[in-house]
């Protein structure tokens, strides 16, 4: 069966491209033989296609200075990339430090607030036992002072003392009587000491990484520290066991020395983050909030302020933990 002009018109374009089936092509050819109009249309399509094709083959000159413009952009992008990489490295280093510190904090199991709030002196006296004395207060880290002479200027009122008992879920009587809301100067900052968080990275080559892991665990236990396996990593094509160890400042140096002796040392890096400023800021916030809390008569505002005070206490404790202990990341690389 032949095709009419309308149907033929639909077939002309694919016919030109050789995209018709044999049957379609035969029907169209038959139509074209008897239809000058469709033949003319086909010719017109051919001419346009030829013109478009020819246009595509023409070459024109690139604008003057084109290559210089491209190279300028490439150099510009290289500079930007370098800067980004530098920032990325800095950010990565920062993130690694934060990770180490965060990991160090989370590795310590959550404990009642009275136990967490040990002074380094108390940690030392308890052999870095994280249990510690349940009667300890929040104190300026590292100084071991009672703080009797360093109380915040704004002693909390009786009201605040009462509210603290509600906010701080602590059944310990000593904590109640000498806690942050008691006016005994539990959050203190003298400003005459630097507070530093130390993290150490040790990578050693060992004959048997699993045996070395066991030895490391024994050393960690002997030093009253805690060890957590972070799994396996591949470094330079070698399998490494990665351990995270949290140890008190007093025992850290000794433990690092013992761990390093487990194999031949590949790398030893120590990173220090000075957080004295952070302590100072927290202390100022604390004092300001305590003052506000002492003066407010609005119960809703009081609750809000007490919540904020509690948050600062929590942050203070976290900082204390971080400054009273060190995190060691130990890589045991199989020979």
């Amino acid at each position: 069966m032949g095709v009419n002009c309308i149907a033929a018109g639909e077939l002309l374009s694919p016919f030109l491209d050789g995209e018709l089936s044999r049957e379609e092509e035969a029907r169209l050819t038959e139509h074209l033989e008897g239809c000058p109009a469709c033949r003319c249309e086909l010719d017109e399509i051919k001419r346009v296609v030829a013109a478009v094709n020819y246009l595509g083959k023409r070459e024109m000159a690139a604008p003057a200075g084109f290559s210089s413009a491209v190279m300028a952009r490439i150099n510009e992008e290289k500079t930007v990339t370098k800067n980004r990489l530098r920032h990325l490295k800095q950010a990565a280093a920062g993130a690694a430090a934060v990770l180490l510190l965060t990991a160090g904090v989370t590795a310590l199991k959550p404990e009642p607030s009275g136990q967490i709030a040990q002074t380094p002196a108390q940690i030392e006296s308890s052999g870095a036992n994280q249990g510690g004395n349940p009667g300890s207060d929040l104190k300026s880290p590292g100084d071991g002072a009672t703080g009797a002479n360093n109380q915040p200027n704004s002693s909390p009122s009786d009201n605040s003392n009462e509210s603290s008992d509600k906010l701080v879920d602590n059944n310990n009587e000593n904590q109640r009587s000498s806690g942050v809301y008691s006016g005994s100067g539990s959050v203190q900052f003298t400003g005459d000491k630097e507070y530093v968080i130390v993290s150490t990275f040790i990578k050693i080559k060992v004959d048997d990484s699993e045996a070395a892991q066991e030895k490391a665990r024994a050393l960690v236990n002997n030093n009253g520290a805690q060890m957590q396996s972070l799994g396996q990593q591949t470094s330079d094509g070698k399998l490494c066991l990665v351990e995270k160890i949290v140890v008190s400042n007093s025992e850290a140096q000794n433990l690092v020395k013992e761990l390093t002796a487990l194999g031949s040392l590949i790398s030893h890096q120590e990173q220090k983050a000075d957080i004295t400023q952070r302590y100072s800021e927290l202390y100022n916030q604390y004092i300001a909030l305590k003052n506000e809390r002492a003066q407010t008569q609005d119960s809703a505002e009081a609750v809000q302020l007490e919540r904020q005070i509690k948050q600062i206490e929590d942050q203070w404790r976290a900082l204390e933990q971080q400054t009273s202990s060190q995190t060691i990341v130990l890589w045991l690389q199989q020979q």
Binding site: E10, L12, S13, P14, D17, E19, D43, E44, I45, K46, R47, V48, V49, A50, A51, V52, N53, Y54, L55, G56, R58, E59, M60, A61, A62, P63, F66, S67, A69, V70, M71, R73, I74, N75, E77
Partner: protein, 200 residues
């Protein structure tokens, strides 16, 4: 003279001078191609720059036995298609006076063995086709360029544009009708008649 393979090898090792030389060697081809795709001088310049920048960044993945020109065209084509998807480089203002930016452009179309009159007629016709192409919707212009200018098969076009074979067929059919209508319109606007058989 250092050939392209040596220059590529040097550029792959980070020699920017070698890459700059490669740009100089290929810039006209790439720019022309980009001009055909975008139909606009400024957009062609932007696209061509992006082609070379991507080439520089991806040079390590380039296999030396491949043809650099083909590789650059492929980058340009992909960038053009992607940019069209993002509505960038849309040819809303195709250079109607291509000759003004490059006077030789249309004059070279006519074959050498044709008479001066025929050359003038063909030059005029090429100008009309170019203008008509610029008046088409981007979906039609795209398939006409890919098929009639770049000679891709229907299957390749479908793959490049991520559409069905039927869509390619339909767009080509309609695109070729539309461009003829636009050419007739342009001729009427300029006081000439419809398509002339002598034109190509």
């Amino acid at each position: 003279m250092t050939d392209s393979i040596d220059l590529v090898q040097l550029a792959q090792k980070g020699n920017t001078k070698a890459f700059e030389k490669l740009i100089e060697d290929y810039q006209n081809r790439v720019f022309s191609y980009c001009y055909h795709l975008t139909g606009n001088y400024d957009n062609a310049q932007d696209l061509a720059q992006e082609v070379f920048i991507q080439a520089f960044n991806s040079l390590k993945s380039f296999r030396r036995e491949a043809d650099l020109g083909t590789w650059l065209r492929r980058i340009a084509l992909n960038k053009w298609i992607n940019s069209q998807r993002r509505n960038k480089f849309i040819t809303v203002s195709l250079d109607e006076s291509a000759a003004s930016t490059n006077g030789e452009y249309f004059r070279e179309i006519a074959a050498d063995d044709e008479s001066p009159v025929e050359k003038i007629e063909q030059e005029e016709f090429a100008r009309l086709v170019w203008q008509a192409l610029g008046r088409l919707g981007s979906e039609f212009r795209q398939v006409l360029i890919l098929r009639d200018m770049e000679e891709y098969s229907y299957e390749e076009i479908a793959s490049l544009l991520g559409c069905s074979l039927g869509t390619v067929k339909s767009r080509l059919n309609r695109g070729r009708k539309h461009i003829r209508e636009e050419i007739d319109l342009l001729r009427r606007e300029s006081g000439d008649g419809p398509l002339n058989k002598k034109d190509f």
